[in-house]
């Protein structure tokens, strides 16, 4: 009987127009989202490539200039840009510190529209002066991107709901449930079977389209099979959660319209309200330290140190590097003093900055705990982490850039203080920036929580069904 019914259901499923429409919706949306992701990743790669090429051209020119100078020619450059001066090289020929996209960057735009993906720290730069926010139009930030994460988190549950809201109620409304009840089959198992059948159908389509999207994005399956598999597992676990909800709601045995309404209500709660409320709670309980306040403190500090610095430094020279060459002590003297006094200021300022950053980090860590209140947040956070576009990834990149800026400075400062000229040979020893992306993302806990959610809901549905069955409400009501 079970097998018989199964065959019947499968035929029904495949012939159903409604299900065909929904399947096409999934396919179109996922492909479109995958295409959008590809656009963004391609642009990111192209930007990085452009700048890298440009810098290597400039480097060639600089090396040629060094050659001419060595041979005693004069070069057509402002005095303070001549590349024999270490500070000129450090300031006018900075390296590219680029954050290459992760293999799965196309999956979630995440925070990537907020931040830049490459920067060129100069020798006078430090963590305070390097800017990391991108010049995106805020309207675009407000609306967000139509990416795969959006389709999975927002749209997929809606499709699941449309797929399943009337499994039991339809039979009841058309009167066929009474017929079914006369067969030797438990209604609960029968609903379960229908849900599982739909689940597999949808999972199959989703995995297929996802694979296509991954192929379009030139994802290397051989190298990153693990990442692909965990992405699939995550999405399937999320789908399972929504199917469990649909199963439970169906077992409550209300009418189709009521089922649709309840499921949509739950969608609104999990996808819109809980994230919004959590966002609000986190900023109310653990407010982000005020940046204007930080700015005030920084300015006060800077004003104070500048006054101290006036005693050391000639006002004139500090703001006018080009005149430094007329100083009797030779042209390096300005930079000697400038770098020294900058360090004093920066040391004090970075203490303040660290305090703020620390506070921010604590807040972010606390927010991490909030994700377990809704599967939608869990999936969003995990997809961002897999795509390498989470706030943690960008914070990580900022830190790497800061330490690279330090390396860059450390490369030139000794030359400056020893009054050495920059030569062609030193070019090969330039520190290089390579972005180290974080180790693999583990999603075991997250999957476990999703499964826990699923089990809990299934049990609630079961309980409700037994209660209804006792009252004899399942078939009659």
């Amino acid at each position: 009987m079970f097998l018989y019914n199964f065959k019947y259901e499968l035929k029904l499923l495949i012939r159903n127009k409604w299900i065909q429409v929904l399947s096409v919706i999934i396919i179109i949306n996922m492909l479109f989202a995958g295409y959008n992701g590809k656009q963004k990743v391609d642009k990111r790669n192209a930007d990085i490539e452009n700048i890298t090429n440009k810098v290597s051209q400039e480097d060639q020119l600089m090396l040629l200039q060094l050659d001419s100078i060595k041979q005693g020619h004069t070069v057509n450059l402002s005095k303070w840009r001549v590349p024999t001066s270490p500070m000129a090289v450090g300031n006018y020929h900075p390296r590219v510190a680029a954050m290459q996209p992760h293999d799965m960057a196309f999956v979630a735009i995440g925070q990537s529209d907020l931040f830049t993906h490459y920067t060129r720290p100069k020798v006078v730069d430090n963590s305070l002066t390097i800017k990391h926010t991108e010049m995106t139009s805020p309207v675009q930030l407000l609306f967000g991107s139509f990416d795969l994460a959006f389709v999975v988190i927002y749209l997929l549950p809606l499709i699941i709901i449309a797929f399943t809201y009337n499994i039991l109620s339809q039979e009841k409304e058309s009167g066929s449930l009474r017929l079914l009840a006369s067969q030797p089959l438990s209604i609960r198992n029968w609903v379960l079977q229908k849900v599982i059948l739909r689940f597999f159908w949808l999972v199959l389509i989703t995995i297929l389209v996802l694979t296509v999207v991954f192929v379009i994005n030139e994802f290397s399956f051989s190298e990153n099979l693990g990442a692909f598999v965990s992405c699939i597992i995550l999405v399937v676990a999320y789908m399972m959660f929504w199917f469990a909800l649909a199963f439970a709601i169906n077992l409550f045995g209300k009418s189709s319209a009521k089922n649709a309404m309840s499921l949509l209500g739950l969608w609104i709660v999990f996808v819109l309200l809980i994230p919004a409320i959590m966002g609000q709670l986190s900023s109310s309980f653990y407010p982000i330290p005020s940046r204007t306040k930080m700015l005030n403190e920084m300015r006060a500090l800077k004003a104070e140190t500048t006054k101290k610095q006036d005693k050391i430094l000639d006002n004139f020279l500090r703001d006018h590097p080009e005149y430094a060459s007329k100083d009797d002590q030779g042209k390096t003297s300005f930079w000697h003093r400038y770098m020294a006094s900058q360090r004093i200021i920066n040391d004090e300022l970075s203490l303040l900055q660290d305090k703020y950053d620390g506070q921010l980090r604590k807040q972010h860590e606390l927010i991490q705990q909030f994700q377990y209140t809704s599967p939608a947040i869990i999936v969003q956070q995990s997809l961002n982490a897999m795509a390498g576009t989470s706030s943690t990834n960008y914070e990580d990149y900022r830190n790497q850039v800061a330490s690279f800026a330090q390396q860059w400075q450390d490369f030139f400062i000794p030359l400056l203080y020893k009054n050495k000229e920059f030569t062609k040979e030193q070019y090969a020893d330039f520190p290089k920036f390579t972005y180290q992306s974080e180790a693999e993302v583990t999603i075991t806990t997250k999957i476990a929580v999703l499964v826990l959610f699923t089990l809990l809901i299934t049990m609630i549905g079961w309980g409700a069904f037994r209660l209804n069955a006792k009252k004899g409400l399942v078939i009659l009501s």
């Binding site: 830049t116 995106t136 991107s145 649709a260 986190s282 204007t292 306040k293």
Partner: protein, 468 residues
């Protein structure tokens, strides 16, 4: 007759459990949203006032200093929050709040709230605009998706007809009844916001007229949604299908369309990266006059021109300090470059806006979104406006400082120190956002789009209900 229909439908809605539950949820959400937003509004403005005063104190107490040193020390312009941001936060979260104003450089506004938050905040926050834009239309759908289908399913449509009611009266009655609950809620919300804001009048100028304009935009939005929902209900055969279609429209209009528009806008009219932008500016700056570089060709040309103008043959004979004069000319030249590049950026956004407006044809959400944040002064335009005002202030400051230097010292005298009162005499930065009539004038095409939606949706509804 219309009155009777409204009364009957309203009674039904009020007695419905769905309505009671959603009313309870929405009201509690709104209370939280208003409470949180008004707190945030108060805090931000206290911080703003404090930052402004402290920064000005820093500037005033610089003591004796070379004016150009003061120009490099610079000052900050802070962006305040405007009263109606209590209702619509717009893009405020994504724009910087402070602009560093220094010599030679136009800086971008820094420290947007979004850059400090985690990905969680990208889901959206519990603010009044979230409820007004997303949740209220949903309530309309929830209470009226079956307005016509229930009559068809229950067979009461025949009974109604036998009463001799004209179809348009029936439709109008049902339309008003479906709209009423949300209008009542919105009225209460705007009323509370108005009272709160007029009591907080120490910050910014709150105007009831702007509030009313904002209120009207939302009411039109709800009218559009009511018409669409009723239209679907009149066309569908079953309640379930009507519900699913209405929700698809809602999802498409409020979630998918804005995202699709934003992707298309970025694809067709991309902004330069921050690095590209800076490098383009630097490249042009290098070619032109630089106040710090007396040896460049442009500097020599300027020298000649000024010598000729004053009929003297040495810079020392000029009645002012030529170094400072050159500094000012360099400053003006650089300001031009920035202006040019920011114009390109603005042009690019104008093109992007064109895309948003064409997508608005499939989404009534978009015109409302844009109009509402424009009226609340939390839109991108206001941010541009603020940034431009800050830039103008920066240019004026440079002129003031360089003039002071040029007038009070001789050529090549960089040791000159302006007295400590100089700083106080510089007027403070003041900025007031565009007024309502200007905002409305700027947005006529969007207003027309919204009214077009109202016309089309209600017209279609009354046409489709002609033969029930």
């Amino acid at each position: 007759m219309i009155g009777k229909i409204i009364r009957k439908e309203s009674k039904e809605i009020i007695r419905d459990d769905r309505f009671k539950i959603s009313l309870f949820i929405v009201v509690s959400l709104l209370i939280v949203a208003i409470f949180v937003s008004s707190n945030q509004y108060k805090n931000t403005n206290i911080q703003y006032e404090e930052a402004k005063t402290k920064e000005r104190a820093n500037w005033d107490s610089q003591g004796e200093k070379t004016p150009h040193s003061a120009a490099h020390y610079g000052t900050y312009a802070f962006k305040p929050k405007y009263p109606l941001s209590l209702i619509d936060q717009g893009v405020d979260k994504y724009t910087g709040v402070s602009v560093f104003l220094e010599a030679h450089k136009r800086n971008e506004a820094e420290y947007s709230a979004a850059a400090d938050q985690t990905g969680l905040s990208r889901f959206g926050e519990l603010t009044p605009d979230f409820v007004l834009l997303y949740i209220f239309p949903l309530i309309i759908i929830l209470i009226s998706y079956n307005t016509f289908t229930k009559e068809k399913e229950g067979g009461t449509i025949a009974l109604l007809k036998s009463q001799g009611i004209r179809n348009w009266k029936l439709t109008l009655g049902k339309w008003i009844a479906s709209l009423l609950p949300v209008v009542v809620l919105a009225t209460i919300l705007f009323g509370i916001a108005g009272i709160l804001l007029s009591n907080l009048s120490d910050y910014g100028e709150f105007s009831w007229i702007s509030l009313f304009a904002l209120y009207s935009v939302f009411i039109v939005y709800y009218m559009v949604f009511t018409s669409i929902t009723l239209l679907i209900s009149s066309l569908a055969k079953k309640s379930g299908i009507a519900l699913v279609i209405s929700l698809t429209v809602w999802f498409l209009g409020c979630f998918a369309a804005p995202k699709i528009a934003s992707n298309l806008a970025d694809l067709k009219y991309p902004y330069p990266t921050r690095q590209e932008f800076t490098e383009n500016v630097e490249y042009e700056k290098k070619k032109g006059l630089d106040g710090h570089n007396p040896w460049s060709e442009e500097a020599k040309l300027l020298e000649k021109k000024v010598l000729k103008e004053y009929g003297v043959d040495s810079l020392h004979q000029l009645p002012f300090n030529f170094s400072a004069y050159r500094m000012q000319k360099g400053e003006e030249h650089q300001a031009e470059i920035y202006k040019k590049h920011y114009e390109i950026l603005k042009e690019q956004f104008k093109n992007q806006k064109g895309i948003y407006q064409s997508i608005a044809v499939i989404s009534p959400f978009l015109p409302v979104r844009f109009l509402s944040m424009s009226i609340a002064n939390t839109n991108y335009q206001t941010h541009w406006d603020f940034a431009d005002a800050a830039e103008n202030y920066r240019i004026d400051t440079q002129l003031y400082l360089n003039d002071n230097h040029a007038k009070n010292s001789k050529y090549q005298d960089w040791g000159y120190k302006a007295n400590s009162d100089t700083w106080k005499n510089l007027p403070a930065f003041e900025y007031s956002p565009p007024i309502l009539s200007d905002v409305l004038n700027d947005n006529t095409s969007i207003i027309i789009m919204l009214l077009f939606w109202l016309g089309i949706s209600s017209g279609a509804l009354f046409l489709s209900t002609k033969n029930l």
